[in-house]
Each structure stands twice: as structure tokens, then as C-alpha cells.
């Protein structure tokens, strides 16, 4: 009985409100930060400097003859220019010495890898500009931070299914499952 008396006055609207706000902060601010780990690319690749040389996206990110998309270039492509150090940027030195000359592929982090059961055709979306779906890295000197979901292992920047579906619906394209899934 005495304990009940002691508790009188510590209930009510104010403690509830404080707890409510605190949990909102945890849910909206803290948790989204905790769930993603931050990673940086193994080499500080500057898309900007390459674009300033007059290069197009498709110079390195190209289609194969069968219409499939090759994605990121391999050493073979990079070494066409960077077999040796040609500039003064320290990042290039890192690439040439640690990867190109050791014949080791760079383990780039891909911001937009999709799950295993997604079939995405770059060819079918060729009429769009790259930056409509991808981060606009062409203007970036330093690659953006890669956020990896600690639970699922996927990148935060991966396009979500609702985004695919919305664009398909707006453009009158079928949203049948097999259009994107395999």
C-alpha cells in the first residue's frame, strides 16, 4: 500500500509524453543510423575527372553483344589508360600499384545490386538517362558513402520494388511478376 502512495504523481500525461517523444527519436533518428554500416570504396575513384576528359558513361559501362549489361569495367578496361601512373592523383597510384600491377580486380561496392530473384534489363531501360535511377556520380570527385543494411546485407541505395512498380505504372508498362522477377 505504501508503495502505491509513493508512485502517486509519477504517472500521468507528462512521463508518457516524454517516453513517447524519446521512442519517436529512437525510431526515426537513432535506429535508421544504427541499422546501416558505412563503407567507403576501396579506391577513391573520381567520376568527375573522367567525365571532364570528355568520357561518356557508356565508354566504361557498356553492353555486351548479346544485349546484356557488363556493369562495372574490369582491370582490362581501366588499364587501357592506367597501366602506369599517368596523373598526379594519389588515388590513381593506389589503383595502379595495389590492383592493376598485381592483376587483382578492385572489389568495388555496387550501390544498386538487386536481390537474386530480380531480373533487371538495362537494355529495356536504355532510353532513360543513367542518373534517373543511379546516383549522379558524374559530378562527384569522391564516391558516395556506401550504406549497407546490417541485417539484409543490401545497399541502402538499391532501388525498391515500389519505385520500380510506380515507374512502370506511370509509363503504362506491365507490372506482372515475371516482368522483373526470375
Amino acid at each position: 500500500m505504501e508503495e502505491k502512495k509513493q508512485c502517486k504523481g509519477c504517472g500521468g500525461a507528462l512521463p508518457f509524453l516524454i517516453g513517447f517523444v524519446a521512442m519517436l527519436v529512437v525510431g526515426w533518428v537513432v535506429f535508421p543510423k544504427v541499422i546501416y554500416s558505412q563503407k567507403t570504396q576501396p579506391v577513391r575513384f573520381s567520376h568527375k575527372i573522367h567525365q571532364e576528359q570528355g568520357m561518356e558513361c557508356a565508354n566504361c559501362h557498356a553492353f555486351r553483344d548479346d544485349g546484356s549489361y557488363a556493369g562495372l569495367p574490369k582491370n582490362e578496361k581501366c588499364q587501357e589508360c592506367h597501366a602506369d601512373v599517368v596523373g598526379s592523383d594519389p588515388a590513381e597510384k593506389v589503383y595502379v600499384e595495389q590492383y592493376a600491377q598485381k592483376n587483382k580486380e578492385v572489389p568495388w561496392l555496387v550501390y544498386q545490386y538487386q536481390p537474386d530473384n530480380v531480373f533487371f534489363s538495362h537494355k529495356a531501360h536504355e532510353s532513360f538517362e543513367c542518373k534517373e535511377c543511379h546516383l549522379e556520380v558524374g559530378k562527384m570527385d569522391t564516391p558516395p558513402v556506401y550504406y549497407e543494411n546490417r541485417l539484409s546485407g543490401y545497399s541502402k541505395q538499391t532501388m525498391k520494388m515500389w519505385q520500380c512498380e510506380r515507374c512502370h505504372a506511370e509509363n503504362g508498362v506491365s507490372n506482372a511478376c515475371h516482368v522483373c522477377h526470375k
Binding site: S121, C177, K182
Partner: protein, 262 residues
């Protein structure tokens, strides 16, 4: 979908299997398992638990001596025009909605209730009783064309759907029409590997495709046509007893009814 309500598509991918050419070698089954990342079973003798999207059955005319004859019948998913499996799915994990008329199966959405398996009269659907286990080293040889399925979901043949997507990409690259692929541009693994050429594949509505004529030939039939599921897989045999077995659903039924094409 009401009975008989076949959804119409501009392109209807269909398979025509010549049972007189089929030797029962099983190459189609093997090609299918490799293409679709089906793990080898720990105990493949347990036929209740094996996964065989493509399965070869042996047919017999039940006669003895010199009159005895056998035939082999490869059975993929029939990709029915009016599928029995689709309306029973409570979570829309399977649908017939895409151009080409292939019945899709979305594994992450499947809850494993197996209503579709009960509904399918062709037993073309399989349930993953176990997680797939690939022998050491084999996981490096998995095909990127098909996603892996976990324990607890239903799977089935999808006419090697990724090959369809890849054929469309190739057509786009070469300036062709991805919505009107040429004959042979899209070929499932089983049709490609069949050593006797028993399996033909193409658009059964397109006169320029070989299967257009094959599916309408006088010896063509489909399995259990009287059910009205309108399968997109056709069989051909010059032997009457084989054709009759195609409709052999119940002893009281009328087997070998005159073939009807809608």
C-alpha cells in the same frame, strides 16, 4: 478466373513434343536441373520429395509379346491458358499475366500452402521439403538465370523464363522487335538439348514459327483437354494408343476424344 476464361496474349509461348521421337533419354530433365539450379537430392529414390520441373514418364500399351510398345512422355509445366493453380493461390504468388502466357511463380511470396499443387492435374508443381544443398564446389557452377529457392516454397517449370528476357535483350541490341521474337530466338534448356529434336518451342500463334503448324497437325493432342485448362504444351504421336492415354483421366471418361483447338 471463371472456368474457360482464357486470357488472350499476342504471343503464346508453346511447346510441341513429338512422342514418337522421344527416346526417354532424360537429357531434358538434366538440362532443366542445371539451368534452374535444382540441387541433387540426398535421397533421389524418394519420389515424394524430388524436384523435377521436367519429368519423363513411361507409357505402355499394356500388351505383351510382339505387340508390346512403350512411349516416353516428357512433362513440363503446361502453362495452361486457364490455369487451375492461379485462382487458388491465397497470396498471388503465381499468376498468368505477362505477355507470352507463362505462368509465373514468385518464391519469396509463396507461403507454402500447396493449394496450387493440389489444383494442378498435371502434378507439375513441386514443394521444397528441404533447403537445397549443393555438393562442395557445385555452388560455384550455379546458373545466374534462376534464383535459389529455400525450404517451404513451391516451384515449377517456367519455360526457362530468363532465356525469354535474354532473347528480348538480344533483339533490342540487334535492332529487332523484342515483342515479336524470331523462331528459335528463345529456346528453353530442354528444347535446346533434346538430341532427337523431339521438343519444339515457339509462339503457337505466329505462323512463322514451326510450332504453329505442329500444334495444329492431325496427330497433335494435349493432356486432359476435357478439363478445359487449355494447356500451351502440345504432344504429337502417330500412335493412337498414345493419343488415347493423353486424355486418360478417369476410367469413366471418354479417352481419345476428337481433338479440339480453340
Amino acid at each position: 478466373m471463371a472456368h474457360g476464361a482464357t486470357k488472350e496474349f499476342k504471343v503464346t509461348w508453346g511447346m510441341v513434343i513429338d512422342l514418337d521421337k522421344c527416346t526417354g533419354c532424360g537429357a531434358c530433365m538434366t538440362a532443366c536441373q542445371v539451368e534452374n539450379n535444382i540441387a541433387p537430392m540426398v535421397d533421389a529414390s524418394n519420389k515424394m520429395r524430388t524436384l523435377s520441373w521436367m519429368l519423363v514418364f513411361e507409357l505402355s500399351n499394356k500388351k505383351s509379346g510382339a505387340e508390346a510398345e512403350v512411349a516416353y512422355l516428357p512433362r513440363p509445366c503446361m502453362q495452361c491458358g486457364n490455369p487451375a493453380c492461379v485462382p487458388v493461390c491465397p497470396v498471388v504468388a503465381t499468376e498468368k499475366n505477362e505477355e507470352g502466357g507463362i505462368v509465373s511463380q514468385i518464391y519469396p511470396r509463396c507461403i507454402g500452402c500447396r493449394y496450387c499443387m493440389a489444383a494442378c492435374p498435371y502434378h507439375a508443381r513441386y514443394f521444397n521439403w528441404e533447403d537445397p544443398i549443393f555438393p562442395k564446389g557445385m555452388e560455384k557452377a550455379l546458373s545466374p538465370s534462376t534464383s535459389a529457392r529455400p525450404r517451404g516454397v513451391v516451384e515449377k517449370c517456367n519455360f526457362c523464363h530468363t532465356r525469354f528476357m535474354e532473347a528480348k535483350d538480344k533483339a533490342r541490341q540487334e535492332g529487332g522487335n523484342p515483342e515479336g521474337l524470331a523462331d528459335g530466338a528463345y529456346m528453353p534448356a530442354c528444347a535446346e538439348i533434346c538430341p532427337t529434336g523431339a521438343i519444339s518451342f515457339g509462339d503457337v500463334k505466329n505462323k512463322e514459327h514451326k510450332v504453329f503448324d505442329l500444334a495444329q497437325g492431325k496427330d497433335a493432342f494435349r493432356l486432359l483437354e476435357k478439363l478445359g485448362l487449355n494447356p500451351q504444351v502440345y504432344y504429337v504421336s502417330k500412335r493412337e494408343w498414345v493419343r488415347k492415354l493423353g486424355d486418360n483421366y478417369a476410367a469413366t471418361g471418354k479417352p481419345g476424344a476428337a481433338k479440339k483447338h480453340s
